[in-house]
Every structure is written in C-alpha cells, then in structure tokens.
Amino acid sequence: MKKVEAIIRHFKLDDVKNALSEQGVFGMTVIEVAGYGRQKGHTETYRGTEYAVDFVPKKKIEIVCSDENLQKVIDTILRTAQTGQIGDGKIFVTNLEDSIRIRTGETGQDAI
C-alpha cells in the first residue's frame, strides 16, 4: 500500500475530493497547513510595523491506497488541482507497511 500526501491550494479541495470519489477513492484525511516555497507571500503592516508573511495557507490531503490505485490517484489530483500558477503544490508518495481499521481490526487492503 502507498500513502499519497498532496499539498494543494485551499479552494481546490472540493474539486479534488469529488474527482477522487468519482474514481472510487472514498477515503482521505485533510489537514490545514502553511506552505513555504516559490510562491511569494505578502506583507502586513500594523501601526508602522511591517511583517513579511512567507507562509501561504494550503490544504494537505493524505490518501492511503493500494499500489494499483496509486497512479489513478496521482493522475486525478494532478488533473484537478492544477492551475498552472506557482503554488499549485506537491504530491509525495511513501510506502506504507500496514494499515488497520480500528472499528473492525481488519488490516491491509481491507482496511481502506
């Protein structure tokens, strides 16, 4: 099994989620993150004091899927999360040793 972590733009979450569901991928976990990269942040001023805010709010999606589903998941995300502008984000893939469904104790494939 693989764990796909995708860092995407805030407002792309719904599109990605829906596209994945259509693809039959029904589970994911989403996290609010702050991203730092090529995309430039902005500056704020409070009574003359300037703050450079380098972090951009992003959403991080974690999807655990079977090896055969991996490509499908990646393609779907690429397709739906892309705007072509700097800051679209990244997809990271790691190998998963095991997964368990707490409710039933099922492990491996059946757990997801």
């Binding site: 407002f11 719904d14 702050a34 902005h42 704020e44």
Partner: protein, 487 residues
C-alpha cells in the same frame, strides 16, 4: 444576465414614474376633497411631525425652552443609532462573510462612520434639512452655520439654535447617524469583492445625490412629505425611514449586486458565514439600537416615543419568531441566522410605521416581514440568481417596501389623532396611494441614480478588485491585515 436585470429594473422604474404621474393626477380630486382637509388641520399633523421631520410649527419669537428630558432621550438615541452601525451592523455583516474578508466589511462600517460624518457636517445636513424648497435643501446650515451656538452681543451670552424642545445640534446629530448607516447597509450587497476606494467614492456621491434629496423630500417638506400641498398624491408617512433609509438602500443594493456581478466561485465555493456568533450578537445589538432609531424619531421622550418603542419591539419579536418558524416547518430546523434575520426584517418593516400604528398590527407587520423576507432571501434570490452577498435587498428593500405599504393600512388616529386615516380603520385608500407613490418614486430614483453612479465610478477607477485580490481576500489585499491570528 446583468444587462437583462438592469433593463428590467429601469423598466420597472419607468413604470413607477408613469404610475406616479397617473396616480397623482387621478388622486388630486380625491386628495383635495378628503385627504387634504384631514391633513391641513394642524391638530392631526402634529403627531406626524413628531415623526422624523424638520417641520416645527412653533413660531420663532416664542420658541419653547429646551426640555432636558427630551434632549437626554435624543442624545441617547443618537448614541444608539451610531451603535447600530458599529458594533451592530459591523458584527451582523462581518459574521456572514468568509474569514478572509471580515476586516473588509468592518472597515466599511467604521470608515463610513468617519467619512459620512465629515460629509454631513460640511454639506450633508444643509442639503437635507435646509430651507423648504420642494426638491433640495438650501445652504442655511452649511458648515454647521445656524446649528452651532453663536455669541449674542446684546444678551452677552451664547445662543444655541433650537429645534422644538431640543437644540438644532441634537436633531442634526440624530439625523447624521442615519446618514452613516444607510450607505453602510448597501455595503452588504457588494461585500467580498468591491474596491475600498470605489466604495468610499460611491458612498460620498450616493449620500450627497441620493440620500440628501430623498431625506429632504420626505422629512423636510419636500415632494413626498405628508400633508404638504406640493406633495405627490398627498405625500407619505415615513416615521423613521422606511423609504429614506431602507427602500433607498435596499434597492440601491440590488442594483449594486447586479452591476458589480457575482463573487468568484459563487454557487460553487464554500461561502458559509465564517462567524455566526458575530451575526447573532450583531442582530441583538441592532435590535437594541433600533429603539433609538425609531423611538428617537419621535424627537422627544413623549408618549409617541413610547408607542414607537413598543411597536418596534413587538415587530422585531414577531419577525424573529416568524422566520424561525418558517424554517422549522419547511426544513425541520429553526436556525440562528434565520431568527436573527427575522428580527431585522421585523425592525425594518415597522420603521416607517412606528409612530402611527398600535401594538397588535405591529405583531402582524413583523410576522409578515419575517415570512416575506424569508421567501425573498431563500426562494426568490435563488431563482433570480443575483448575488446580494448579505441580502441587503432581500431584507431592507423588501422589508422596507412592505412596511411602507402596510403603514397605509394600519396607520391609526388612535396614535395620530384626527380623522380615520389608515385603510384598516376606514380611512380610505388615499394614504395607501400616497405610500405606494412614495415607494415607486423612491425606487425609480434609487435605481437611476445608483446605476448612474456605479457606471461613472466603474469608468473612472473601477468597481471591483482583481481576481487575485478577491481570492486572497480583501483583508490582506485591500488593507494589509488579517482578522484573526490564532496560531
């Protein structure tokens, strides 16, 4: 879409004008035969004038002295009406937008408190309440002349111009608070996408060219003033601003919403209110402040003020319950937002009637407003598809119109004295016609003027922020700040 709408509105506006002409002529006879006698009689007009108006019959030479109780109440009312704009409206509105625009909305309210007040002190007040020309005020109060006290060499002491039993100062202040909140209400329509600069320019122009004339027409013996010979169809009763404040702002809001266009991602993105606790608290503050708005429009701490206070409270209550019940029936759950919206709808609806109707009709008016506005904001808006972000039209435009019309139905001699006046107590349709005409004129005028101003500003500086700014949010892009920093 946009143009289609505009056409529609302009059309209806034209219809309005024509209808007006027709009615006016058709009614003249009637008016002169039944309506006018009843309104020419001073006795009956008095309570009307106790309304939000500048007409004080008392001859200058024997003006009444200052009544500390009346002045105390009017100063308190002025504070309450400012309290409505911020924190009241600022919370009510800002809670409804997305987090990234919360300061944008609050800024509109706070900045307008400053900007409109400066305008009012310079030329706004005199254009609204100076002299008695039927169309516009004269320069008698320019730069607060004849409002501020002046040293009288003979008496050897300062003399403060009076307005009935209160200083002209107090009346000017009270009216000035209305001048702030009216454009602030419009901001609800173009929230989350309008340029701050455009909003500022629009507010100055709209206040000067739309609010001041309207205010003069209705409350300073102009063409819509009740019981003025020169008035259209005998004029209309507007105790605290059904036409001047709510219809004008509500209709203008609709024009803005159409003109500025929908928010990016409207109907697709998640646009849930980011902080309904603010909206709820804001609604409660509006409710409290509205006592100043309506009861203060009596101009004194008299029985009429108590009547206005009571019917205002009852109408708000009925509106809150009605809207909540509608939701309960139709979707199984009453919502806080619904309850809050209903309260405001009830408050808007009773505003023109507060000094003319009794408590039970007030309950009815509030309930009616709750139901009608509920339909406008839920069903109608969906169908028509305009993006009035915070329902400034759905609540203020519709609620204000309903209130203005129902005033013609429920206005009663029991409060105003004189002959039977409202339709309900057998006063005939003349008042009702006057009310309708006033509504149509206000609508027509607001549509034309607002559309013109928007076009102008669009050409000059542009109305809308860039896509990128809109996505990032107005707080950062327009003001370089963030509302909440909780991490």
């Amino acid at each position: 879409m946009r143009t289609y709408f505009l056409r529609g509105l302009l059309a209806c506006a034209l219809v309005g004008l024509i209808a007006t002409q027709f009615l006016v002529t058709s009614v003249v006879a009637q008016t002169t035969t039944e309506a006018s006698p009843e309104v020419s009689e001073p006795r009956e007009v008095v309570p009307v004038e106790a309304g939000n108006t500048n007409e004080v019959e008392v001859p200058e030479e024997e003006a009444p002295g200052l009544d500390s109780g009346d002045n105390a109440w009017m100063l308190t009312s002025s504070a309450l009406v400012l309290f409505m704009t911020a924190p009241g409206l600022a919370m009510f509105y800002s809670g409804l937008v997305r987090k990234k625009n919360v300061l944008g909305v609050m800024m509109q309210c706070l900045f307008l408190m400053g900007l409109m007040t400066v305008v009012w002190s310079l030329w706004g007040y005199t254009l609204s309440f100076g002299g008695d020309h039927p169309y516009i005020g004269n320069m008698e109060f320019l730069f607060m002349e004849n409002v501020q006290p002046a040293y009288d060499a003979e008496l050897g002491e300062p003399v403060t111009p009076m307005h009935g039993t209160i200083p002209e100062y107090t009346f000017m202040l009270f009216q000035g608070m209305f001048f702030i909140i009216t454009p602030a209400l419009i901001c609800g329509a173009f929230a989350e996408r309008m340029k701050f600069s455009a909003m500022a320019v629009f507010s100055i122009l709209w206040g000067t060219l739309v609010y001041c004339p309207l205010c003069h027409w209705v409350w300073d013996g102009g063409i819509l003033a009740y019981g003025e010979p020169s008035s259209l169809a005998g004029g209309a009763l507007d105790f605290a601003g059904g036409t001047v404040v709510h219809i004008s702002s509500g209709i203008s809001a609709l024009v803005c919403a159409i003109f500025v266009g929908k928010r990016l991602g409207y109907g697709h993105d998640d646009m849930r209110p980011h902080n309904l606790t603010y909206t709820t608290l804001g609604a409660a503050m509006l409710w409290v402040g509205w006592f100043g708005f309506n009861a203060g429009s009596a101009g004194a701490a008299d029985a009429l003020a108590s009547n206005a206070f009571a019917v205002t409270h009852f109408s708000a209550a009925a509106g809150a319950v009605a809207w909540a019940l509608m939701e309960w029936i139709q979707r199984g759950k009453p919502s806080v937002l619904g309850c809050a919206s209903g309260a405001v709808a009830g408050l808007v609806c009773i505003t023109p009637a507060a000094g003319f109707v009794l408590p039970m009709p007030a309950l009815a008016m509030g309930a009616a407003a709750g139901i009608v506005c509920y339909y406008t904001c839920t069903v109608l808006k969906q169908q028509m598809g305009y993006d009035d972000s915070l329902d400034a039209f759905g609540v203020h435009g519709v609620g204000g119109t309903l209130g203005a019309v129902l005033t013609g139905v429920f206005a009663t001699r029991n409060v105003m004295g004189g002959e039977p006046i409202g339709l309900y107590e057998g006063g005939g349709v003349s008042l009702l016609i006057g009310q309708v005409v006033a509504v149509l004129v206000t609508v027509a005028f607001s549509v034309f003027a607002t559309a013109f101003l928007l076009k102008l500003i669009d050409v000059l500086i542009g109305l809308r922020v860039t896509q990128e700014s809109e996505i990032r949010g107005l707080d950062i892009s327009e003001h370089g700040e963030e509302g909440y920093i909780f991490s």
